[in-house]
Amino acid sequence: MDIEQRRRERLDRGIKIRSDGLYALMSWRELSYLTLPRLVLIVGILIAPLVMPSMYWQRVISIVCIYALLSLSFDLLAHFVGLVSLGGAFFIGVGGYTTAILNTQLGLPPLLSIPLATVIGAIICTLFLLPCLPLRGVYFAIITLMYPLLLIRVIEALDILGGTDGIVGIASFDNRWVEQYFIILMVLLFLFGIRRLVNLDIGLVFRAVKDNDQAVRASGMSITYYKTIAVFIASAMGCLGGAYLAHLYMWAGLSSFALDFSILPIAATVIGGAGTLVGPVLGAFILVPISELLRAFGTLRITFYALILLGFIVFRSEGIMVYGQRKYHQFEKWVKV
């Protein structure tokens, strides 16, 4: 060829390769290469409430954490098990009403009723979703979207569970800092827990179910069983958020089934980077505060919100985390062909 041709080569950084092995433990530089990003995330989330200027913004952090849990559950289901879930609202609502009943009827304190509501709510959600689990395709998305709409009407029409007023008089946390850090610790716990889970054997089966469920069946495993486990874990995260929300507002009502809880996690996942698990949490930490900041624009808020989302999808469709990880682990250079 007479003209010189070049292409950009992408290579793993040396430090990444070195720190892949056990030798990483022998040098501070490689140790910090491994742990620094995680530390930044953990410390960043932990000190976030401390640096917030007002009670209002501390409350926003709590809401962000709820959305982070929902995004995590969406990412787990959509990108590791292959179930597109629009069930955020369903999980939040079930969790909220369960904890409300446990708290007001049985008088359990928040720190007991929330874990109980998480487990009971997750069982309820899983049982509700069980019929569509053996199938693949849009069924799961539709069912998860329909349940909250259905439950709203049922509660309204039968005037049960407080009817349109919702259940009031739910106990709040005794301490403001307990309230704040409970949910933050839960987000971190679930984030690192799920990251671990998807790399265990069961996580591999989850991914196999996503890729080719027929092959999984042919290997002698029941896809319904594995999907049930995944849905249980994901709905537990959602119900935890819902239960916490009920105690935060001291109220569980029909707005727990709001569609926001289903849609925003998807947006957060797209922005953060699908299938990275950290990305969706980060996406929630970006999107929810932005949405709060835009309140200044009044009715134009949704317009700006949509524009920001659009910008992300057009210019960074891979997601922040995918981009960030690539930049962190790899470098590029021009090479002659």
């Binding site: 041709q5 980077g273 469709s317 891979e318 997601g319 995918v322 062909v337």
Partner: protein
């Protein structure tokens, strides 16, 4: 008719095509032979332009970076940067590997979709022609594509490609997983298409023996590089080629 010079394709840092130059003259059947991972499919994607589409999707998803280098000349024009849809309009039509027919459409619908670029009269004419070349398809007109047998699906895929009024037809492993009888039928049909319609054809295959009789000129790919080329007779007389690719 088609001339590609110095094609190089990288999937990230893996070299899939290494400086491959390939030529196809008017009204010729050109064979491209090679083992798995020799780069046959990549070559087909590059010639048809589908590689641009793959590259864009990978880039959007933050996956592998695909670099394509080299020049492709078609009918005297440089089409290196032409989009796959425009290439199809100019007459380079790919019949992809593993058929990729529209599984939920019936046979006739599949063919009609393929005829999107053709005028109604051309489409009807080609439809008749397809049914003449592949009489088996006519009886299955209303059958849903996904329920056809492998051989019928391959006939349908070739028929669909023909409906787009190709001047240059790219057949990517048309004999994949078919019985010798069906293979012979398809090979015969391929020659018929060339003879009657005057369409140039580039066909890739792993096992050269069934296709070789109809091939005018052939290239042999190994690990992404074109190691040998020649006319039918030249290759037949090369002992290495005979043992490796023709099993004689």
């Amino acid at each position: 008719m088609l001339e590609a010079k110095g094609l190089m394709v990288f999937y990230e840092n893996m070299l899939a095509l290494n400086n491959v130059s390939i030529k196809c003259a008017e009204n010729q059947i050109v064979g491209v032979f090679g083992a798995n991972s020799a780069g046959k499919s990549t070559l087909m994607y590059t010639l048809s332009g589908i590689i641009e589409d793959i590259r864009k999707k990978e880039e959007m998803a933050g996956g592998e970076r695909i670099s394509v280098l080299g020049k492709i000349q078609y009918l005297g024009q440089d089409i290196t940067d032409v989009k796959p849809s425009r290439r199809a309009k100019r007459g380079i039509v790919l019949c992809p590997e593993r058929r990729r027919i529209f599984k939920e459409c019936s046979v006739i619908e599949n063919l009609r979709i393929g005829g999107y670029l053709a005028s109604p009269s051309q489409a009807n004419e080609t439809l008749e022609y397809v049914f003449r070349v592949f009489p088996a398809l006519e009886k299955l007109k209303k059958r849903v594509g996904g329920f056809l047998s492998g051989g019928e699906q391959q006939m349908l895929a070739i028929g669909r490609a023909l409906m787009a009024q190709p001047k240059l037809l790219l057949l990517d492993e048309p004999l994949l997983g078919l019985s010798p009888l069906v293979q012979a039928l398809l090979v015969r049909a391929t020659r018929e298409i060339r003879d009657e319609k005057g369409i140039s054809i580039i066909v890739t295959e792993q096992y050269a023996r069934p296709v070789l009789p109809i091939v005018d000129y052939a290239f042999i790919l190994e690990n992404g590089a074109a190691v040998l080329e020649g006319t039918h007779d030249e290759l037949m007389n090369n002992p290495d080629v005979r043992s490796a690719y023709f099993g004689i």
